[in-house]
Symmetry: C2
Subunit: 702 residues, 2 copies
Amino acid sequence: MRFSLIQVNVLMAVSIVIAIAAFAVAYWLYRWVVAIPVASKRVARLREQISAGAATFLNREYRLLAIFTVVVAVLIFFFLPNPVWTGSWSKNLAMAFSFVFGTAFSALAGKVGVVVATQANARSAEAARTSLGKSFLAGFRGGAVMGMAVVGASLLGVALIFWIIGDSSALLGFSFGASTLALFAKAGGGIFTKTADISADLVGKVELGIPEDDPRNPAVIADNVGDNVGDVAGMGADLFDSNVASMVAALVIGLSLGGRDGKAVTMVFTFAALGLLASIVGVVTARMGKSENPTNALNMSTYVTGGIYLVLTFAASLLLGFDILLWVTAMIGLAVGVLIGITSDYFTNDLRKPVQKVAAMSKTGPAFTILSGISYGLLSVLPAMIGVGVAALASYKVAEMYNPDYALFGIAMAAVGMLSIVGTIISNDAYGPIVDNARGLVEMADLGEEALDRTDALDSAGNTVKAITKGFSIGAAGLTVIALLGTFMTEVNAAAAEHGLVALGKNYIEGFDIMDPLVFFGLLVGAAIPAVFSAMLMNGVNRNADRMVTEIHRQFREIPGLKEGKEGVEPDSNRCIAIATDGALRELVPAGLMVILFTLLVGFVGGVHAIGGFLAGNIVSGLLLAIFMSNSGGLWDNGKKFIEAGNHGGKGSEAHKSAVIGDTVGDPFKDTAGPSINTQITVVSLVASVAAELFLLFSIFG
Amino acid sequence: MRFSLIQVNVLMAVSIVIAIAAFAVAYWLYRWVVAIPVASKRVARLREQISAGAATFLNREYRLLAIFTVVVAVLIFFFLPNPVWTGSWSKNLAMAFSFVFGTAFSALAGKVGVVVATQANARSAEAARTSLGKSFLAGFRGGAVMGMAVVGASLLGVALIFWIIGDSSALLGFSFGASTLALFAKAGGGIFTKTADISADLVGKVELGIPEDDPRNPAVIADNVGDNVGDVAGMGADLFDSNVASMVAALVIGLSLGGRDGKAVTMVFTFAALGLLASIVGVVTARMGKSENPTNALNMSTYVTGGIYLVLTFAASLLLGFDILLWVTAMIGLAVGVLIGITSDYFTNDLRKPVQKVAAMSKTGPAFTILSGISYGLLSVLPAMIGVGVAALASYKVAEMYNPDYALFGIAMAAVGMLSIVGTIISNDAYGPIVDNARGLVEMADLGEEALDRTDALDSAGNTVKAITKGFSIGAAGLTVIALLGTFMTEVNAAAAEHGLVALGKNYIEGFDIMDPLVFFGLLVGAAIPAVFSAMLMNGVNRNADRMVTEIHRQFREIPGLKEGKEGVEPDSNRCIAIATDGALRELVPAGLMVILFTLLVGFVGGVHAIGGFLAGNIVSGLLLAIFMSNSGGLWDNGKKFIEAGNHGGKGSEAHKSAVIGDTVGDPFKDTAGPSINTQITVVSLVASVAAELFLLFSIFG
């Protein structure tokens, strides 16, 4: 079955309208948030400081990345997908343009998120003086602005590229742009936020014994800035990347199956658009209700979105004639995404055994906090990896039942299905740093015990839900990159056919054989990359925190009256922000470049077979390390909070000291390295796909 | 070219004679060691305590494993390689018998090693009163007894099985027996030793501030017992396992190439026998010379062995007509093994940047010790994994140049070549715990400052060389299991041919395609297993150490005069040994069983394709985690020693406290989990090979 040109154009137009509707909803949510008055002068002033710090960082980061983008775009124009002197200039130009477009959209979504988050934090703080429900909603809707912006931008960007240019190399270029920007944004933001967080804690809480958000601490503002640039902008870029990549993977495979007007391509747009629609409903209707339980409210928005999505896509499949088996593949993805989230929750929730055991172990000393946290983190790898494996296997087999040619498309649709609820997931996730900020503002501006209790409750819900959203985003990245492996193969075969390397109708490669030593070589090297990448990021945080700690010590030593909290004496927060910024920008480049260069190296040395192994090794070890690090980190964080709630001696006890050390180790695990690996595996997969033709033609051993 | 029956028989006889010669050399070395008189009554008494403790543990462990062995042997008889009711009882009996034989040989080699090591420790301590050279030689030759016993037993066992039964399932059964015992011995010994080590340090050094081997500490004897049962017996079983597996992998592939009298099989025995011969020379001629540098003496023995091996095998290849290209594959393995050892050394040597950086970071607090140690450990993964990948790729390609059918055999020969010097490697490695014990005895028996300085120097050399031997043994296991992947495929094809599943002369499987979702599913699950396995072992150490710390506290509280060191008051060391033993035996079973059961589960669910992916995933993530954990652990250990040598404030400084925490985290990393993963990946590969026929015939989805 094919669709007519008019039908396809209507579908594209509807997708674009829904994407634009998401922006409208985002704007409405934004207006709703900023309409809440900020009465406290001190809150307003701190908010401005945070907002200005975040803007400074983002502007400098984007300026650096703009240079990088231009350089890469020029390289793409000359070399990708084919050297320009072979006559492919129009294709190259389209890919270069799409690449720039992808980076710009990603940057824009991140920027919007941070601008709104740094408004919403103050509103949530203000609202906490009077109402838990309103404070919650300020945080959630602030986050939802980014959720809507990210998903709207993904759909809009992909639909425009598809409509205007419409070939797979342009789509891959767009996705590659989104992914590259995400890699740097996530790494840079992650280094910034943990530099500030660790340094603030180390000098403040550990050395001087002052509270978390004490205004005397010169790193406190930087810490709050970090929440925004790391958790809001970085995570937004990460999920923008995954979302675009899942759509592009499905579209590229879909194009090879039935062309622009085939059922596969239409199905991708339909399902993506309906996912966004479902997210809009889920986000707009979310509120706390009478239970006063923010965790339930957040989870409910996810389930509502998922439920609506299920119904809408089922109806659309009947209406538009998509086979119900293909609908099932999307539902498999959705279900497994939620399940992986739930297992992450088990390992990081303080009501469960792992956190409680680690907290209990902390009584024996910090080495046991570390060892037991690492052990549970490693254990948590099993259910998530089985989950991703089952999702890939089941969706492949189900789609194969429909039509053997559609088997890989089934995996891609599972990824699309898993990411369908991403608008709500982002809203839930961005809620976390906003209410964390709000809590800081309440404390720094002294808004009273009641407000502090309220923001504490909201913050704690943010932490709980974060484990779920993190597990979800790792699972989604995993499934997406498996689909991208299929995309890579599709690209290689298309290029081989174009260059007459195979007879018409034959495939150049049908797969990647592990027993081929080039594939195995790629597998080993690919598996090492996430380890090296995360090591470089963590070393970056270490070095940077070292510099910042020195600066904080200097301020406490040299600014008279600061330590004693004399009226009117303020720390020089901007110096700390500058150090975190400089360091993050310096450290993010080598790690990101290493990843891209290693992919090119393996591709040009070992050819497409080595790259097949490289991608598989990278996915497998990337998932393993990302899950391990995210869950260990979350577990240590909540273990510390569990002790602070009065268990095992509470604050100041030996157990607490150990738990603080665990939390410090966990910070770069969960907020720098772990989530960056997600993006790393996507980038590697996209580099492979965009350079597939070059690897095919110009490798040494391939 | 074929060899005549007489030629093959002569070769087998020569191999067996060389193996028996190794035992003779071991006996001569043993006599040399025990001829050194032990003058100090206190040393003699402590030695007996350690020896008795080790014997108690080993006897109980072996009793438990004997039951396990019988159960598995019965299961093998009924089910492997084929259900007995299908008429294959003679084959099944041969495999069951070979399995038992393999466990017995492995246990014997470990037992011999421990008996000698617990004699040599006292001799090394005694000799340290007068001469560094003699003290060194007592330690080295004590270790060499096990080196000779292990390699002699490998060659003897494999040669006997081959000569008497001679089919591949019996060889695999023997290797499976060796591997299973190694898995439990390594895990049990590793849990025992780190339980005792951590508990002794925690209460002794950290809480009470008494020296390392203070005789008042009830856990000190257990700690010394642990060095023997963990590092000597466990490591011996580990390398016995790798050595047997590399020979068996090469033999099984060799049998499929040219049968019993073909060139391939003859080459394996020739090269293995010459490796043993070279090791004998390397071990017997080793001594310290005038330089008085124990590290050089240990490394020199490795290089001498390697050099002799190179010359002997080259001459044999010319003489017996093995193609020089195949000789090259063995040399590739040898060279890469040494190179991987050298990169491990870089990451753990205190003269290099990583250890010094981590030591410097320790000034900022324990979280930074941990984070920077983890970062360097993750970085260290890259060269080793590239090394294994290059070795596999190069040996495959070189062998392919000789004959495409021999490509996989090339990888197997690279593993055989890498393991050729294993006799010397084991001697070097077992030297470490012996002189560590000797140092303890010198301190506990108060043999004087000069003796302590000498044993300190010897101990430090042991630590340095250990990094190299560990890197080497991980590399060897990695290459071996890649060869075993080929063995598995060979077994599947043989079984398929036997059952008429393919036309004559055709292969049932030519490889494992990553794009096959069953393979990918296997890849993901296989990769998760080493993480879960090491988590279970580390949790075992945690739980066990918790119990032992409680007991040490009880003794200091309840035994009057113990803390004050009153004359004649002694701690109840046996209680501590009993706790470590009970705990280790309780904790080792679930982890080992989990590994075996998961392999069976994946095989019976997903069939041979899923198992192919499972093995590949297991190898890749196993190597990654093993290298990471071993190197991080070694780095923390040496970082602590670097500070204790007077850097960054020396003993008692803040940096030292942080480094001690790092070292405690590193203990189960480097001595429990890391090296056990080696064995884990071999066991999984062998389970797959012995059950290949069942997976082929009885899987659900395969």
